[in-house]
């Protein structure tokens, strides 16, 4: 029996203490708790091997959870097989059927559901229109470019009107320009369809640009879940701070509401409770270069990299540690001179304190 046609209304996804162990004792996913809201664009971000793809494959049903529950739209799917889960899935390799045409690829899910031919044709046409691939119906996947194959994979997944769309690094194989264009399109498509989308990526820029919320994963655990700005500006762990963007970490400890660096210097932070070893995290663009003695710390400018819109300076401190400072490109063509002594300062509210675990 083919499953009934799903409704187009987006579903929530709830993971309760979901765990996956692989043979050999490797814990790929370790007691993850997560709620993805209906209609949300949610990214699972992390380095390769962090368990993000395994998590996605457990939501899709390709991997069985060893512990915990997977609930989608209020329905417990933990023991429901893949083909009864009604989810759209876009694979990293696209996984288009090479022996079928574009139209047949897109129609596949409808055929499995026993949709009548006239409706099937209409829905295939509208799905292909949505991904801007009209006129390619009769082509075979091998005759399409990578970007076009990506669109077919997307059309094939959305044509069944799934309440949930799962994407496993779908843009990973595209070149940079095309990837950025597809990011915008995918985001627009997700809004237009109102579908709940779980997006797996190792590319932090992609996750920051596209997501409503991001879950950062490391070693099978969710390190932090939050909006992109939240994750970037207020990382809660060293891993999150270092994985996303560039950051300066200064080791020290929290004492008496302030932060004392390892060399004994008291550094400006907004008031902090508690005591104990910690690191001070500062984004390079939050630091400002001032004249020597006017900042918090003095150092010697040891490198300048021109990035186009910005310039990345490396300031080497007296104890040999380095601070990265990003300044807007002044547009005068003149960069600061290597070897000059200068000061670095920041606003206390921009300093993030990361407690040692």
């Amino acid at each position: 029996m083919p499953p009934p046609l799903p409704t187009a209304s987006p579903a929530s996804i709830t993971l309760e203490r979901v765990t996956k162990r692989f043979p050999g004792g490797v814990v790929a996913v370790d007691k993850i708790d997560l709620i993805v809201e209906p209609g949300e664009f949610f990214s699972l971000l992390g380095p390769s091997g962090c368990g993000k793809t395994t998590t996605l494959r457990m939501i899709a049903g390709f991997e069985a959870a060893d512990e915990g529950r997977v609930v989608v739209g209020g329905r417990d799917l933990t023991h429901v097989p893949v083909h009864h889960r009604d989810m759209g899935m876009v694979f990293q390799s696209y996984a288009l059927f090479p022996h079928r045409t574009v139209a047949e690829n897109v129609a596949f899910g409808l055929r499995m559901r026993g949709v009548a031919r006239p409706e099937m044709a209409a829905r295939v046409a509208s799905a292909l229109a949505q991904v801007k691939l009209e006129g390619y119906e009769a082509r075979r996947p091998a005759e399409l470019s990578g970007g076009q194959q990506q669109r077919v994979a997307l059309a094939r997944a959305i044509v069944i009107r799934p309440p949930v769309l799962l994407c496993d690094e779908p843009l990973g194989a595209l070149d940079r320009k095309l990837r950025q264009a597809m990011q915008v399109e995918l985001k627009e498509l997700q809004r237009a369809l109102g579908v709940t989308l779980v997006f797996v990526t190792h590319d932090q820029e992609e996750a920051l640009a596209m997501s409503d919320r991001i879950g950062v994963m490391n070693s099978g655990r969710l390190e932090q879940v939050g909006a992109p700005a939240d994750i970037y500006d207020r990382p809660r762990t060293r891993f999150v701070a270092e994985f996303i963007g560039e950051i300066n970490l200064i080791e020290g400890r929290v004492h008496d509401g302030g932060f004392i660096a390892a060399d004994g210097r008291v550094l400006p932070v907004s008031s902090e409770k508690g005591e104990g070893a910690a690191a001070l995290a500062l984004r390079p663009e939050k630091l400002r270069i001032v004249s020597s003695g006017a900042g918090v710390i003095d150092g010697v400018l040891s490198d300048a990299s021109f990035l186009g819109d910005q310039v990345l300076y490396t300031v080497t401190l007296a104890d040999g540690r380095r601070l990265l400072v990003k300044e807007r490109n002044p547009g005068t063509g003149a960069l600061r001179q290597n070897g000059s002594t200068l000061g670095v300062r920041w606003e206390p509210r921009d300093a993030v304190i990361l407690r040692n675990a």
Binding site: H83, R85, G88, M89, F108, M112, M120, I160
Partner: protein
Amino acid sequence: MSTPSRVSPIAWLVAPAGLFFLLFFLVPFGVMALFSVLSGNPVQRPNVTLTGRHYDRMLGDSLYIESLWSTLKIGAVTTAAALLLGYPLAHWLARMRSRGGHALLLMAVIAPMLTGIVVRTFAWITILSDRGVINATLTGLGLLLAPLPLMYNELGTVIALVHIYVPFMVLTLAGVIGRIDERLEEAAMSLGASPMRAFLEVTLPLSLPGILAGSLLVFALAISAYVTPYLMGGQQVLTLPMLIYQQVAATFNLAFAGALGVVLLAVSLILIVAYNHVLGRVARREDLA
């Protein structure tokens, strides 16, 4: 500067194989085909003429027509059985994740090929003959009054042939199935296909080239087999290779043997082209226009 060579230097590496093919296949086959339409041996008798009498003799004698039919039937049944037995094994082999398990299964498939065909055929005789393992056990237990006719017929011939040639099918299929992306089946399942449906819609059609290649290999080997049909058929099943051998070794009628060989080759080629055509049609057939 020298003019660029039109032939890649690598191409010369196929020359030995080409020469071998020419000397030991095309030339003998040409001689055989030529003899089959001559009235005698041109080396011994200079005044030979063209004749169709060897072909007339074959077509006019029901013994040869029946043995051609029997040869093709044994070939077809052996191929079908090897495909049905070999496909699941090849799929298992191709999809096995454990390297150790893969190596063991591969060894299990290849190991029988290390034993000679004659030895393996005699093993089947000890199992299937009237006083063999199966019949002796069943009659000994009183389950049977008379032994089952398991050999000296086409059944026994096919059983032994399938056993001997199934590794060719498995190895050919496993190579093709192993190159099919497993994500394709996952994609089909995510779109609502049951695992069986996903296999039928995706993996099976994509493995058609392997089915074709494996079938042709087994069919070609089975219809040209001599030792196994000879021993398992016990002279009750006459296949064309046995009659050809008889003409060559006992009757010394090379021309008639040549005619039998040409007919067997021609009929096999027609069947192979037809099979190829049908499989191609199946592969192109789509449920959705």
